[in-house]
């Protein structure tokens, strides 16, 4: 286990029900992975600064319920109350989305991604610019490696807390997903 991971598990012991005044303090724990300035410590970890509050809340809730699993996040969410989760979601949603410096996809990749997005009707939920709202996540300018891994995990059912997305993603190949991830990351 890397040292930073050990440190996080150690810190989890200190999670207690949150109050408005100490949300910022609790959020410092999140920064261990999601970044002190909103830029995650590696590309497999999602940006949560500026993410939509409803989505952040539901994901925390699903980690707690076991509907979504992750070695760190499942543990992290265990001690959180609904109020904690709502407060954390609200806190991070109000932060500015960080500049990850990801490059736009090339024209051919973008074109392929747009055809897939039209086929899957992504815009119905993720909206213009793939910014989402409320329960639907922003996926534009999200970390590339996280996006690609997530698309695949949704398709396989490994990430199974949205069965509609799992069924939808089955229609698309690895190449389609590579194009989508590159396109979205570069928006």
């Amino acid at each position: 286990m890397p040292t930073w991971l050990f440190a996080i598990f150690a810190l989890m012991a200190f999670i207690v029900p949150a109050h408005a005044e100490d949300i910022a303090e609790k959020a410092t724990l999140c920064a261990s992975c999601h970044g002190e300035n909103g830029v995650p410590i590696d590309q497999t970890i999602p940006v949560i600064w500026g993410q939509n509050a409803g989505y952040l809340y539901v994901e925390l809730r699903d980690f707690k319920r076991g509907a979504r699993t992750d070695p760190i996040m499942s543990q992290m969410a265990t001690g959180l109350s609904r109020e904690d989760m709502m407060a954390l979601a609200e806190y991070f949603s109000k932060k500015p989305w960080p500049n990850l410096g990801q490059k736009p996809a090339d024209a051919a990749t973008a074109e392929r991604a747009q055809v897939i997005a039209n086929s899957a009707q992504c815009s119905q939920c993720h909206l213009a610019g793939f910014l989402g709202a409320s329960l639907v996540p922003r996926v534009s300018d999200q970390n590339h490696d996280y996006l690609l891994a997530t698309l695949r995990a949704i398709r396989s059912g490994e990430r199974g807390n949205n069965n509609w997305m799992t069924e939808l993603m089955k229609a698309y190949s690895d190449q389609d997903m590579a194009a989508l991830a590159a396109y979205l990351a570069g928006l």
Partner: protein, 572 residues
């Protein structure tokens, strides 16, 4: 009065000229408009609402009047002069996202809404902003098909808004201040609102979204003055089994396995608690008989029929209830046990139509995602006729299969989606907007995931290799025959307006807003709005000048280019 973002612009006008004109017209801001035919000019009376269809000055309801014909009776703008139509002003809202608002105009004041539940009151002559209200939405709002809002209702001195987080809000029409707010339902259970309310006889009528989230649908009536709930009609009764119908309204086989469904019913019981049945569009109101007519949307989960044996009443149905009590009157189901999301969405329209014997009877029209226009008798809801198919129907009612699924036409968006029809009663024609979007339908069993997640029981995907397009279709509702049809380069979604000037106005996803000859379908005028025109137009008259107004903000469902413009057109 604030000038806000409103700009009066002429053809070729510079920004400086536009600003100058705007300031010059500011002097008119406090003058009283004498343009109304009915009412006391300070508030909307029930008499005005009752006669809205004959009011050539105001546009008082989402679909024109209680019959929902969307027929504007002014003929100042007509087939002879429409080629001179040009923008009078453009108002830019704060929200650049899917725009489905039907502008409401009362005595020279216009009310429009945007995605995420903003409401604007504008000077209908100039586009100058009078007030702006933004609903503070809670963190949990569900929207299956875009965070849309289709407009407000007006009654007395109030403006009524239904919100994404399932609240009904009454605003003071003069100031935009909240008078009262009532909970319609729990947004965390999948209930949300995108439709405009309907105001009638002191009641505010409202349906609900949520057929994609396992809700139990309803239409509710609230007291217009207090916000108190008056009655609720559950669109899903406690016995939803029906007649085990094996065919749809047009006689086509639905390929149901009735034996398997009966076995499932014995095991699971009636699925009414989470069977869906949203109501997406305003009811039409038959004032003479004190009845309302509306259509009920799809069952939940959309594509998987296994957990919901039976006909799934009253999903995919025309339903009539008593206006005063909310009690059931009659229903007619277009598609029993729907597993394609080919539900009933577009608003009903009341007309007098010929029955099978050629006698004129009170009838109700509905345009289905199936691509048919259905004509039903208002007396008992029975089907009089259905139209020729307006779009290709291929492999109709083939059952969804495991991914990648079954190809079938129409796709799950239609045919006709929520787009409102218009009717020219002088021609016996109804005008419908259609999509041609070939899709794959796949099914996958899934447990109810909780009300804040989509519960579709599968997926529908647009087939990337196939061409998509749309059309505007005029159907003779006395015969069911297509009178004329115009193909459009993209699937059509939004709405249409007919006028006494012999015109129909409608917009396209590519930004074109067009006027057609309502008798022939000849294109007479077009304007490029710079963003998808996917909203129903309205007509109004101020100080003797007729205007046509429409929103150009694009649409989430067909992903057309977004914008934030309300554009009013007039003649010099």
């Amino acid at each position: 009065m604030l000038l806000g973002n409103g700009m009066r612009v002429g053809l070729g006008a510079t920004a400086a000229l536009a600003l100058g004109t705007c300031l010059a017209t500011g002097a008119l801001a406090d003058e009283t408009s004498n343009a109304t035919l009915f009412g006391n000019m300070t508030a909307v009376s029930q008499d005005m609402l009752n006669r809205a269809g004959q009011d050539a000055n105001n546009f008082l309801m989402t679909h024109g009047d209680y019959t929902q014909k969307r027929y504007f009776p002014n003929r100042q703008i007509n087939t002879m002069n429409v080629r001179h139509l040009h923008p009078a002003w453009i108002f830019q809202t704060e929200v650049k996202e899917t725009l489905e608002t039907a502008p409401i105009i009362v005595n020279g004041v216009m009310y429009v809404t945007t995605a995420f539940d903003h409401v604007y009151a504008l000077d209908a002559r100039t586009g100058a902003e009078i007030w702006h209200y933004k609903q503070p939405l809670g963190p949990i709002t569900v929207y299956c098909c875009g965070p849309n809002n289709r407009g407000v209702a007006v009654d007395g001195g109030m403006v009524y808004l239904a919100t994404l987080d399932a609240k009904l809000v009454a605003l003071d029409a003069k100031t935009g201040k909240v008078a009262w707010q009532s909970d319609i339902a729990d947004p965390e259970l999948g209930y949300s609102e995108t439709m405009a309310p309907t105001a009638v006889d002191g009641k505010i009528l409202i349906g609900t979204n949520g057929g994609e989230y396992g809700i139990r649908g309803f239409v509710k009536a609230f007291d217009a003055k207090t916000g108190k709930l008056l009655w609720t009609f559950n669109t899903i009764p406690e016995n939803t089994v029906g007649e085990w119908a094996t065919k749809d309204a047009t006689g086509q086989d639905l390929h149901r396995d009735i034996a398997a469904e009966k076995a499932a019913l014995a095991k699971l019981g009636d699925p009414f608690k989470k069977l869906g049945g949203g109501v997406w569009q305003n009811p039409s109101v038959d004032l003479a008989n004190r009845r309302i007519y509306f259509v009920v949307g799809n069952p939940s989960p959309d594509l998987d029929g296994a957990p919901r044996p039976g006909d799934n009443l009253y999903t995919d149905s025309l339903v009539s209830v008593d206006l005063d009590t909310g009690k059931y009157v009659c229903h007619f189901q277009y598609i029993p046990h729907d597993v394609w999301d080919l539900d009933a969405v577009s608003a009903t329209v009341l007309v007098d139509a010929k029955d099978q014997n050629g006698a004129l009877v009170p009838a109700v029209l509905h345009a289905g995602k199936t691509g048919f226009v259905y004509v039903n008798d208002r007396k008992d809801c029975h089907l009089i006729r259905f139209s020729e198919a307006m779009v290709p129907q291929e492999n109709m009612y083939a059952l969804p299969t495991a991914s990648p699924g079954t190809r079938m036409l129409p796709g799950a968006n239609g045919g006709v989606e929520w787009s409102a029809m218009a009717v020219d009663p002088t021609l016996n024609l109804t005008y419908a907007l259609n999509l041609h979007q070939p899709m794959h339908y796949s099914v996958k069993m899934a447990d109810y995931p909780g009300g804040d997640k989509l519960w579709l029981g599968g997926a529908f995907t647009v087939i990337p290799e196939e061409e998509q397009w749309g059309n505007v279709t005029a159907v003779d509702y006395n015969t069911g025959k297509i009178r004329w049809q115009v193909k459009t380069p993209q699937p059509m979604i939004g709405g249409i307006l007919a006028t006494a000037g012999g015109l129909v106005f409608t917009g396209e996803s590519n930004g074109f807003f067009k006027a057609y000859d309502s008798a022939t379908g000849a294109e007479l005028w077009r304007f490029q709005a710079g963003a998808g025109v996917n909203a129903p137009p309205s007509g109004y008259t101020v100080e003797g000048k007729e205007f046509i107004v429409v929103g150009a903000g694009g649409n989430a469902q067909v992903d057309s280019k977004r914008g934030n413009n309300i554009i009013a057109f007039t003649l010099d």
